[in-house]
Structures are given as structure tokens and as C-alpha cells.
Amino acid sequence: MRRLFQRMVVLAAMMALVAGCGGAEQQQTGGQQQETQQQTEQTQAPSTPELILATTTSTQDTGLLDVLIPIFEEKTGYTVKTVAVGTGQALKLGENGEADVLLVHAPDSEVPLVESGVAINRQLVMHNDFIIIGPASDPAGVKSATTAVEGLKKIAEAGATFVSRGDDSGTDKKEKALWKEANIDPKEQEWYQETGQGMGATITVANEKLAYTLSDRGTYLAQKKNIDLEIVLEGDAPLLNIYHVMQVNPEKYPMVNGDGAKAFVEFMVSDETQQIIKDFGVDTYGEPLFFPDAGKAEEDLTSGK
């Protein structure tokens, strides 16, 4: 008898849980229907309206996506769910088929994805560059360095604090590659600190600690008004920051929205979008944050600069 009662309690609790979730679902379905209806009024609604875009924090933190996504949605009728994470995580989402389309900036990690058939239709979108920022007093003398590798060597020699993203993002991957090229293993070093956070948050930390860090130019310009750090090194060819857009292969993952992803790739490399990218940020920062590159070859970028 007791056991029966026990079981009934457990059963009742489980049923209540399921009922609770079910209620929420119904509500959601209602919401979706409404959304779909609204869409039908605007444009011809695509068969699968939901499109998940996995991208980097830098495209969100600069505000570029807030400009581009509404235009894309209005044109095509898709609803874009933008998940802004580090490039490492964005690529992982693609690899697991959790995202439909990727906008990322770590070419060395992207190529294996294309080769293994996870990603298709990979297209060059735009570039900007990475910069090393640090305190104006420049205790490590990075300003006198001509290359990024030389700059990092000076920081290591001086034991000056360097704040790293440490989040496997595109910027983090670039930084790690530069340390490797400099033949320095900064891990475990007293002066090397990892935040595990996005670029904006990492710049804030570096600013408070009067430390050096590697940043993309866009996020730095967006943060400039809050910080005392300044650019100590820029313009070295390896510091180029290249963004590609690519579809997650719908043949490999049946749940992936292939049509929507294709439309998004086409949108990103279209003339109109490229013009918006070119003008973006000029009125706020006095200089562009990104340079459009659609149709160019990646080799032209790296050799040209």
C-alpha cells in the first residue's frame, strides 16, 4: 500500500511536469502561428521560416548584424535567430548541425569543415584587422616593434600583463597562432591571464589591469569611448581578420534549413549588402569597421596588404 502511494506521488509529479511543459508548448505554438501569419501578410513565407545563424561576438558587439538582419528578414521572409558566440563554438554548432549558416573569422579552422563536407558554399564576405592595444605608457615597448610576433616577444620579455580571450574564438585562435609563431608558451605564465569572455568584456578587463590584449579593430572602436588603452601595434599582414559566410550542408543534416542558408549567403555577398558593410560605422567612428571583399580571393587579401 505504501509503495503504491509512493509510486502514485512520483507519477503525479511527473504528470504535472509534463502537463506544465505541454501548456508552455501550446502557448508557444500559438505565438508561432501568429508570427507566421504576420509574415504571410508581409511576404511569401518560406516553407521553413526559421534560420539559425551562428556567428561571432564581434559582428554583434559592433552592431553590424542589427543593421543587416532586419533587411534580410524583410527581403526574404525568413526569421533569423542569431546566436552570437565565439567562432570556435559557432563552428562546433555547425559541426553538430545545430545551426543553418555560419558567419565566422577563423579561416584555418573553417577549411577542415569544408573539406569534411560539414560546410558548403563558403564565401569571402569582408575583412578588418586585429590590433594590439595596451597602456599609453607602453611598458613593454611594443610600439617600437614592426611585426605582431616581435610585439608579443617584447611583452613576454618584459613580463607585462597580457589579457587573452581564452574562449577559442576567432580572435583567440589568431592570438594562440601568433604566440606559437613567436615560440612562446604563455600558458601558466604569471603575466598571462585568460578571461574566457567576449572581446568587449576582455577589453574592459585589460583596461582595468592596464594590460595588453589582441582585439579586432571593430570592437576596439566600439569600446574606445570607455577605455584608456590605445593601439600599440597595427598593420602587420598576419593581423588580417577575414570573415567568411558558409552554409551547413543540408544533405548531411536533414534538419538544416538549406534554402534559408543559401539565401543568407547570397544576401551577404550581394552588392547592396556589401555597400552597407562598406559604409557601416563611418558616421559613428569616422572610419569603416569592415571592408567588403565579396568576389575576391583570400590570397589577394593576404598578399596585398
Binding site: 505504501r2 502511494f5 509512493q6 506521488v9 509529479a13 504535472a16 511536469l17 506544465g20 511543459c21 501548456g23 508552455a24 508548448e25 502557448q27 508557444q28 505565438g31 526559421e50 539559425i52 561576438t57 554583434q60 558587439d61 552592431g63 542589427d66 538582419i69 526569421t79 535567430k81 542569431t82 546566436v83 552570437a84 553538430n96 548541425g97 545545430e98 569572455q197 567576449g198 572581446m199 568587449g200 568584456a201 577589453i203 574592459t204 566600439a222 569600446q223 569611448k225 570607455n226 577605455i227 543534416y253 534538419m255
Partner: protein, 219 residues
């Protein structure tokens, strides 16, 4: 975010209320009966379940978020429902956070009532349902504290909402996730404004609940 106008802000605020409100409501519907049941039940294993509830009261939102994410990802067991990055996903995660809070507070509140009351009500010939309602009425101060506790727990969390909601503009962006984002963008002024709105919202809701809680009290 504020640059896109007040409409966006209103939308984020309303979504915050809708998600936290629904999650709290569901957790109250489930948690209060569960808490009463656990308080009255006398069988082995009861203490074990209570210890689970008490542990659940300390569930870190990110843990709830991670569990719900794993379930709802396309590759996960419930992936077909396509719920990840929707307000529903956030409601489910927040429900998991709030349920132990509501259950635990209810359990404590009912447990504090004089045990003789229970016997007396039954002796007067009350049915089980009548017993349930009388106890709830008797413990209403604690039960409203349970509601306030559950609501406070979910409206202030950010980890689970970010993970299962994705902080998507116009869809799953709530006040807490927007605040984190604005801080990382370096827009501290906007972040402070959002925090103030959030605090005001919490105050308004808890004030209403407090009125309800203290209203029936003899002065």
C-alpha cells in the same frame, strides 16, 4: 539596443515578464501541491525526496540551462520540437529553477503549522480536499513567500536564458541578457538603465504580491 527605439525596450520588458511569469505560474501550480504532499506524507523515502528538493533550491541556473539545451538541441532527444532559442525553452529552464524553490518554501510553510491543526481539521470531518485548502489558507503567508521566491529566482537569472534562449533580438532577449550584452559592448549607460527597469519591474510585482500577502491579515 535603446537606439532602435522604445518599442524594442517595451518588447524586451514584456517578454521578461511573460517568460518569468509563466515559469513562476507553472512552478506554483506544480510546486505548491507537491510541497503540501511532502509536508503531510509519512513514508520512507520522504526525507530523501526532501533533500532533493532542498538541493534543487540551489540549482545554478547555468546547470538548468545546460540540461535543457542538451534536451532541446536538434541532435537532442527533443530536437524535433524545434524549441531551442524560443521563449518556451526559457520557460522550461526557468520552471526547473523555480519548482524546487516553490516546493521547498511550501514544504517549510506547511511544516511550520501546528500538527494538531491537521488532526483537528480531519476530526471535524473534512475531506482531503478541504484539508488541502484549509492548510493552504492557513499557510498563505509562507505560500506567497514561495511565489515571490520562485519569481525572484527566475526573473534575475541570466545563465539559463542565454544558453537556451540565445539572447536573440526581438525573440528571446530579456532584460538580464540584454544587460550582459550591453556591458560587453561597453554601453554601461544602457546597461544601468536596463538594470533600473529590471529592479522596478521586480519591485512592482513583489509589491503586488506583498499586498496580497499582507491584505488578509488582521491589523
Amino acid at each position: 539596443m535603446l537606439s532602435s527605439g522604445d518599442a524594442e525596450l517595451v518588447r524586451v520588458t514584456l517578454l521578461t515578464l511573460r517568460v518569468a511569469g509563466t515559469a513562476t505560474l507553472l512552478s506554483v501550480v506544480v510546486g505548491i501541491p507537491l510541497g503540501v504532499l511532502l509536508a503531510l506524507a509519512r513514508w520512507p523515502g520522504r526525507n530523501f525526496i526532501i533533500s532533493l528538493v532542498n538541493m534543487g533550491m540551489g540549482t545554478p541556473p547555468v546547470v538548468a540551462g545546460l540540461v535543457v539545451s542538451i534536451l532541446l538541441w536538434r541532435s537532442g532527444p527533443l530536437g524535433r520540437l524545434r524549441l531551442i532559442y524560443t521563449p518556451t525553452a526559457m520557460i522550461i529552464a526557468q520552471f526547473i529553477i523555480a519548482l524546487p524553490l516553490v516546493t521547498g518554501y511550501t514544504l517549510a510553510g506547511i511544516g511550520q503549522l501546528n500538527p494538531k491543526l491537521h488532526d483537528q481539521i480531519l476530526a471535524l470531518g473534512a475531506s482531503r480536499w478541504q484539508l488541502f485548502w484549509l492548510l493552504i489558507r492557513e499557510a498563505r503567508l509562507s505560500l506567497l513567500a514561495a511565489v515571490i521566491g520562485g519569481f525572484g529566482g527566475v526573473i534575475s537569472e541570466v545563465g539559463a536564458s542565454t544558453m537556451v534562449g540565445g539572447n536573440i533580438l526581438g525573440r528571446t532577449r530579456v532584460l538580464t541578457t540584454a544587460t550582459v550584452m550591453e556591458v560587453s559592448k561597453g554601453n554601461f549607460d544602457i546597461a544601468i538603465a536596463l538594470s533600473l527597469i529590471l529592479m522596478l519591474l521586480i519591485w512592482l510585482v513583489t509589491y503586488a504580491l506583498t499586498r496580497l500577502q499582507q491584505g488578509g491579515r488582521p491589523r
